[in-house]
Amino acid sequence: MALLEVRNLKVRFRTGDGDVYAVNDLSLTLEQGKTLGIVGESGSGKSQLVLAIMNLLAANGSLEGSIRFREQELVGLPSAAMNRIRGSRIAMIFQDPMTCLNSYLTIERQMTEVLQHHRGMDRGGARREAIRMLEAVHIPDAARRIERYPHEFSGGMRQRVMIAMALLCRPDLLIADEPTTALDVTVQAQIVRLLNELQQEFGMSILMITHDLGVIAGISDQVMVLYGGRICELAPVDTLFHRPRHPYTRGLLNSVPRLDRDSSERLQAIPGNPPNLLQLPPGCAFADRCSERLEQCATDQPGLVEAEPGHRVACHLEPGP
């Protein structure tokens, strides 16, 4: 049984300039204890996809399709029921820890509140549990530090506090939206390691959104590449990095400078710019930047086909089903 099943999800925003189609007909399955990495550039729809799962779309947004979490349909769920799931069964961490930490309250107050609300614990028990969780994310001297305010922690430590808070109710699903992007590279390595370790310990599934292909490689079981609100490739992590099939995935992998490769050659940049979601072309959104485009790419939307077991690609270059 899959933990999370998204079927034919469409997210649309009404704006003064017209409708923006942020996510188009997207389906995904996430198993218990696994990590799905989601890669995409700005406007690929990766953040709106997870906000839709959390039922946190902006007021002008609407969604269609089905989101089933532990066999329960989340689309159309009353907000009281959604509130019980959000923060307890599904938790989320962000790029900037201060978006979910309150500067005016001590860490203890913020953490025990979650436990008292979602798990009905008393203050003493909640405090003990909160300290245990801070220790799990390797905050030294947790029993004393818990009485401090967020500004008394460094950036990396705040990120750890936010992760500890997200894990307080032992969620089944942790959604991580660019959790390491604002961190220095030495601290990023620590946080990626920590997430891997916590997953072993608590067995939760992770949806990891990032634009950093190196981070994705180090944390994912499966990787989904998004472009213009659609999946262009979905594969197990080794397959995706070693045998990418979609021209966009290959272009992305070729365009990043790498420390483990010779740097005397020019980078192979992808020409053009990311698509405008207000004016998505009728065909493949990547067509005008693709060096291998065919005639039909401009007019027909390629379907997502299974190129080999577990490896799905949306490209007209793929032989049909």
């Binding site: 550039e41 700005s42 460094s154 950036g155 990396g156 430590m157 220095d184 590279v185 030495t186 601290v187 990023q188 390595a189 620590q190 990626v192 390691r193 634009h211 950093d212 292909l213 190196g214 981070v215 994705i216 490689a217 180090g218 994912s220 992590v237 080794d238 990095f241 070693h242 272009g251 992305l252 992998l253 365009s255 990043v256 400078p257 790498r258 420390l259 483990d260 740097s263 020019r266 980078l267 192979q268 940049a269 992808i270 020409p271 710019n273 990311p274 930047r289």
Partner: protein, 329 residues
């Protein structure tokens, strides 16, 4: 031969108010004794984590923040002590490209007006038509279209805005281009376009570049020589290939090992996190070697005395008491 840019023992200190009422003022040593030299047509990459002083260094070279001590020489001429007007004239020869492409462009000006502004400042004698022609030519050289001259910044994508910033910097034909994190706000596929563009423009014009970034892979791609900074100090400086193949400072090595590689097989093989702990506050740096609190090789000596900068091989400078690969140890 006179270097295009020579910086000698540059210090930039900021006075900050005390931590509380009646507390004494604190001193932030943002840049603390940095020396470097850059030849025309070459790129020096400056890399380091937040608070290492790399952006302050760039601003101090341009005279945008006051210098506490040391010298900055452009083509042999000392810049400190020049009058405001004299310094303004020198800025024609040194231009900067900023990190945030949209925020560094005035939203109320068209692309053409933004790009023409330095021309108006430095070549006021130019007629309207000539100016427009120069703007269009330069735009086309950086991959923009001349007919986009009347558009506003918000009508361009992030990558195109960065091209506008580069056009504005290059239109007056500077000798020195300082790039402060010019690609870190851009999408991955666009980063490569801008890195390639800067490399091509350098080959065409022979401009010397100081390229500041936190991303080691980008630094490795674009630089001829690299300087690594930590909390206001230089820890290591060497030619690009030498630095990446034989790092001698433990911090440089840890930084390189921390960069995730887009290959799951390599990532799984990594067994230990290269560095534990966070960066210390630049307001209260550790005694002796500033890196010693996170250094796996630290010894009592490191807390007592600051390591001197030593030239371990020609052009390879290291500030460490116990450099890696030191056979005497």
């Amino acid at each position: 031969m006179t270097a295009l840019l020579r910086v000698e023992r540059l210090r930039v200190h900021f006075k900050l108010p005390g931590a509380g009422w009646l507390e004494p003022a604190r001193l932030l040593r943002a840049v603390d004794g940095i020396s470097l030299a850059l030849e025309a047509g070459r790129t020096l990459g400056i890399v380091g984590e937040s608070g290492c002083g790399k952006s302050t260094l760039a601003r101090a070279i341009l005279g945008l923040v006051p210098i506490t001590g040391g010298r900055v020489k452009l083509a042999g001429e000392e810049l400190a002590g020049l009058s405001h007007e004299e310094l303004r004239q020198r800025r024609r020869r040194m231009q900067i490209v900023f990190q945030d492409p949209l925020a560094s462009l005035d939203p109320r000006m068209t692309a053409g007006e933004i790009i023409a502004e330095p021309l108006q400042a430095f070549e006021p004698g130019l007629g309207r038509r000539q100016r427009r022609q120069r703007v269009e030519e330069t735009m086309e050289r950086v991959g923009l279209q001349g007919n986009q001259i009347n558009r506003y910044p918000h009508e361009f994508s992030g990558g195109q805005c960065q091209r506008i910033g580069i056009t504005r910097a290059l239109i007056v034909g500077p000798d020195l281009l300082i790039c402060d994190e010019p690609v870190s706000a851009l999408d991955v596929s666009i980063q490569a376009q801008i890195v390639n563009l800067l490399t091509e423009l350098q080959e065409e014009t022979g401009v010397g570049m100081l390229f500041i970034a936190h991303d080691l892979a980008v630094i490795k791609q674009i630089s001829h020589a690299v300087m690594v900074m930590y909390l206001g100090k230089m820890v290591e400086q060497a030619g690009r290939d030498r630095l990446f193949h034989q790092p001698r400072h433990p911090y440089t090595k840890a930084l390189m090992e921390s960069v995730p590689v887009p290959d799951p097989v390599i990532e799984r093989r990594k067994s230990v996190v290269p560095l534990s702990g966070d960066l210390p506050s630049p307001l209260d740096p550790p005694s002796g070697c500033r890196f010693r609190t996170r250094c796996p090789r630290a010894e009592p000596l490191c807390a007592e005395t600051e390591p001197p900068i030593r030239e371990l091989a020609p052009g390879h400078l290291v500030a460490c008491h116990f450099p890696l690969g030191d056979l005497s140890r």
